[in-house]
Subunit: 377 residues, 2 copies
Amino acid sequence: MVIQKRVNQIRKFMDVNDVKLSIVWEPDNQFYLTGFRAISYSRPIVTLLEENEVQLIIPGLEEAHADEKANVDRIHVYYEQYGLREQVLTYIEHLTNILQQYPRNTKIGVEVGVLPASVYLFVQNMGFLLVDIGAKITEMRSIKDAHEIELLKVAGHLSDLAIGESLKNVRIGISELEFDSYGDRLLLEMASKDYPDELIGYADWTCSGLPRSEMPHLYSSTRKFMDGDVVVHSRQVWFNNYRAENERTFLIGNVTERQKDLLKLAIEAQQVGMELIRPGITAGEVDIACFNVFKKAGLADYVQHRVGHGLGLSEHEEPYLRFDNDLILQEGMVYTIEPGIYVPGVGGFRHSDTVILTNNGSFSVTKHARDFESMRF
Amino acid sequence: MVIQKRVNQIRKFMDVNDVKLSIVWEPDNQFYLTGFRAISYSRPIVTLLEENEVQLIIPGLEEAHADEKANVDRIHVYYEQYGLREQVLTYIEHLTNILQQYPRNTKIGVEVGVLPASVYLFVQNMGFLLVDIGAKITEMRSIKDAHEIELLKVAGHLSDLAIGESLKNVRIGISELEFDSYGDRLLLEMASKDYPDELIGYADWTCSGLPRSEMPHLYSSTRKFMDGDVVVHSRQVWFNNYRAENERTFLIGNVTERQKDLLKLAIEAQQVGMELIRPGITAGEVDIACFNVFKKAGLADYVQHRVGHGLGLSEHEEPYLRFDNDLILQEGMVYTIEPGIYVPGVGGFRHSDTVILTNNGSFSVTKHARDFESMRF
């Protein structure tokens, strides 16, 4: 039902823009419009939207899976096994067959920002006119409905469990990856108990000590925690594909006064953002308000990134909380609030929480303690 | 040194094809040519190759990281923070500045199979002629050098530890995700002990019981193991970005004779492939030889996929072991051997190992027991 509503919205957009068929390539967009998500890698999966039909092109090894999960009208399968030489062997053959039903100069919708150039050129060379539908899908995805919000709440809850368990196990001598794994293990145990037969995933990125914590985004490594470390820990947990982000910066043992002060400042900046964000203000205003906390402290030069990104099916979703974004925020949008500061020789400092905009404010689906005292080990 | 050699190979290709500048977009390709790999998501990173210079365009939050890791001649940074409004704010601005130094109709290399259409069109609209360099990089990456093979051996060893530990903990009532996590935890513990300050990653996909095990590729869920389950467990472990794949199908408790027979058959088919693969034969021959094991048993209709894929930096790499691929295999290629069979109402059966081709045969970097008796719990 929700999916039907989404498909109808795209169809309306197609109708207004005289687009007869849309090719949806990005896996999260396809999930959003069909309910089907597969591990694809080297075997393309394509969703095709027309006025009266939704079709899916899939590789043979996803046939049973798609039959079970995909809310589509028709499924086209391509095969790669020896015995089926007489069958369709590539996705492009199905795509060609479907496109050939339209006359030259028909308008075809594509996600121009993600579709591989080779596919774009292939469709163009068949004589069609290509129109972007990616921005429209992005805009639709930015407003979450009640069901999506319920999934995000569960994801937030599970991320809190995980981060809490990892933090309980902080000690000198364990590696970043071991630290991550304490929380992951409890996450999987609790999720298995409380949410049987569901999809749960997670990712962790832990940057400890110097210089790693100065770099906002690194994969976790086998570096071991040491006395005096600043640790920036990032975590995403997804429940039935919907992601919550939960990040905490913490201090181990004998850290310097400067390190303590910077963590307090990052916490303060985050509070400013979380209290400010609501429908009616612009994305840029939130970014600037947090930035000004660092600026007032004379630390503007050490800010390296915007204050937050949208969240949902993808790791990062548009639109962004960035100073030059004049978008007016709306109810149902989901954002991370994560002002960060990174000072060479001192460390990086950033908390991140996932907030959902309500009709007159916001609430966070991630609730683990954020205060300074809770971040000392 | 290795990286310099790779860059020189691309430059030779560019020279022959009159390409003056190449835009490398795919993250694994960029790592291959610069040694730098970042978590990117919504912030593009671009490598540019010219005759005399390798340049990198990166977002501000990767500046310190790239300074430390990237083997490039010049780094261009784009910023997104409020205080730096006078700076370059997008990657496309840097790209434009660099491209503008060339006259119209200059040939520009791009990976046409992965570059987003929007970027392709942007470059094309500046008046340049675009030439594919993706196939050349893919071809280069398919032959691993001694250093890459060492990394793959470590990845294989670590995947064996992980899979062994997960299998030690098989029991009724634990979920797929919990099963995965036993091995992951030991992996991280052992890797932290034996390989300090290195990058290690992992991914698991476990499909248990019916109908999940009939579907070759699913994300692990919170479904719990039951008596009589067939379980197809897939695992990749990467060490400094190089991946080994290790998959085992196992049986829990009271399974049927048919299920036992099918597992034995899948093991036999894999043995055929592992013994056959060597330089000088074609990719297709390996696929067909394994397929024929299933065909002889009257089960050709239940094969759903090719026998293997290349492996290295990416989850799947070209070229593929597929019946219609006439490519002659060479020393230094890396392949998974994973013939599978999937019978509705019975289950799926597939082992996968990662083999490296030597001058006269091959060896597997994944060594966990594969025999039938070791797969019963």
